[in-house]
């Protein structure tokens, strides 16, 4: 079983600031992390490898410093890492990103052996479109399994995979054939700590670094800004809510009076909630 896990290096959202004049995102000096959602995908891939054998390749498109995130993934136990980096990729929207990543995945298949499953996170914490996974699936003609909470069965003989998928109002149990693209739902597993052996191996490991040509990409018009149909016209900070929370007065009230005042304030703000609460509390 050869799986490819796509990981994105993202700024630690806690530290994001908007330039007060230019309204642009200020990333200088902001620490970066592996997109937290991608760790669920990585753990799912590692668990499959531990059970069925094979290898896990992690792939990241990003600037040279994204190598840090790939090395981190190696310490968790990934077998090899590929960094896709080229100035032609700058400014990619999701269509151009999925083009570049799918080209690299095809090249990974040719170089390191056929790919059975491509994993992505549900979404990122910066662009957070959740569109790159479906984009890769379509371009590589993989059966698409999004919002997967559990892989319930994987038969390497018949190459059939069964998963539980989060759908609206319930869980869909889907069965399909490899190769597939899986986007993993958050909270479905917990990333392992990684062994000392993995840490030592990661420190020495070579990260494979590919530019567009190395990844077999010849159609540069499909990359980066030029390959992106969407244009960000404006970035701005939401108008800060001047009003802090309306505080319920507690002085001189007993507990029950405070509770009643709180309930009154809630229903005053949204009278329709009354009906909702009655319905819900009655068990519907």
């Amino acid at each position: 079983m050869h799986t490819v896990v796509c990981i994105k290096q993202v700024p630690d959202s806690a530290q994001i600031r908007v330039h007060p004049v230019h309204n642009t995102i200020m990333r200088q000096g902001v620490p970066t992390i592996i997109n937290p959602y991608d760790l669920f995908a990585l753990e799912a891939a590692l668990a499959l490898r531990d059970k069925l054998g094979g290898s896990v390749t992690v792939l990241c498109m990003g600037p040279p410093m994204a190598e840090d995130s790939l090395r981190k993934a190696l310490t968790f136990g990934a077998d090899r890492a590929v960094l896709l980096t080229d100035r032609y990729f700058a400014g990619s929207d999701t269509l151009a990103t999925s083009f570049a990543l799918s080209s690299a995945i095809a090249r990974i298949g040719e170089t390191f052996g056929p790919v059975d499953i491509v994993f992505t996170g549900k979404q990122t914490i910066d662009g957070d479109t959740a569109q790159v996974g479906p984009g890769i699936a379509k371009r590589l003609d993989l059966n698409q399994l999004t919002y997967v909470s559990r892989i319930t069965d994987l038969d390497t003989e018949t190459r059939q995979i069964t998963v539980e998928r989060r759908a609206e109002g319930g869980v869909q149990v889907l069965k399909t054939a490899l190769p597939v693209l899986v986007t993993m739902l958050e909270g479905t597993n917990e990333i392992r700590r990684g062994s000392l052996a993995d840490a030592l191996r990661a420190a020495r490991a070579e990260v494979t670094i590919w530019n567009a040509a190395d990844a077999g990409i010849t159609e540069l018009l499909k990359c980066g800004l030029r390959g992106s149909p969407t244009v960000v016209k404006k970035v701005f900070a939401p108008t800060a809510r001047a009003d802090k929370a309306a505080l319920i007065e507690t002085d001189g009230k007993n507990g029950a009076q405070i509770a009643d005042a709180l309930i009154a304030a809630i229903l005053d703000r949204n009278p329709a909630l009354d009906a909702d609460l009655r319905r819900l509390s009655a068990g519907f």
Partner: protein
Amino acid sequence: MSDAPRQTPAPAASRAGMKKELPERFRSYKHVWVFIEYEHGHIHPVSLELLGEGRKLADKLQVDLAGVLIGGDAAELAEAAQVCFEHGADIAYRVADPVLTHYRNEPYTKALTDLVNTYQPEIVLLGATTLGRDLAGSVATTLLTGLTADCTELAIDDERSLAATRPTFGGSLLCTIHTLNFRPQMATIRPRVMAMPLASPGRTGRIVDHALDMTEIDIITKVLQFIPDRDTQKAQLAYADVVVAGGLGLKSAENFQLVKDLAAVLGAEYGGSRPLVQKGWITADRQIGQTGKTIRPKLYIAAGISGAIQHRVGVEGADMIVAINTDAKAPIFDFAQIGIVANAVELLPVLTAAFRRRLSVHRLAS
């Protein structure tokens, strides 16, 4: 990195200043479409919200508004079409075929892509649900057009382009995105953001049928089962209308029971901050925040939670946040709508009792 130039002023500005030069082949693209999410005999509310919003866009552009109905049964879809007409649609495109009974990416992608290529809409809107996002990403990639994700505001600019505004970085930034030189312009829109339009009973429209041209043998993915949430005991935080959560301020696992008690009376889901998972007070599927669940309830009650940014990004989509905290300076009061500076361990049981009184009075009355 791929989006790095979007952050530096110069290239972003030059891109933003790009002129629209719509290629000849796209000039015939007209009308606004809403994909109607129809499953298990119900239209998802977001689809009706989008018909309301789509109506405004279509009026501004002076074009028609259409609903796209894909499903297994033509008669059921005709009924759904009538609902669409009453909520503002002029036309309903219907693709009815037994293989479309349950949502699956492959046949739905074909149905919607074929419709777009045949009837050439300029705008296609879908709800940003698990289904809408699964489908929109595939369709936009097949059509090689732009797709703006999870929008909260739509407008038509002076050049007749769709200006789609969306939050990113977990809500700490907004951006307005255009698809300049491709058609259709596609966007997914966050549920419960656009107002639900009033129905006009008796309003009618025209149904246009389209064949899927695919058989079950062509489709590799099979739906084995659908397990409705109401049949499971698992936490359904992401979809709950009311959520009650606790944090370290509750001091002990025993006190967390107070959160569960309030949730039980309200018929709500319960959850907590990350440290509670680490301490084993709650299971991981109940963690709320950046690395846990993102919730969008109508009411969120947070007791003894400080409101760290990683928690905040998971709850900001709530319609109303009520915070109970002993520290008047706790960051949660910066984004809660209603706050109460109080000891949650004391207040929660009293609040539970007050809600119980109120709700049981109502139940007796009705």
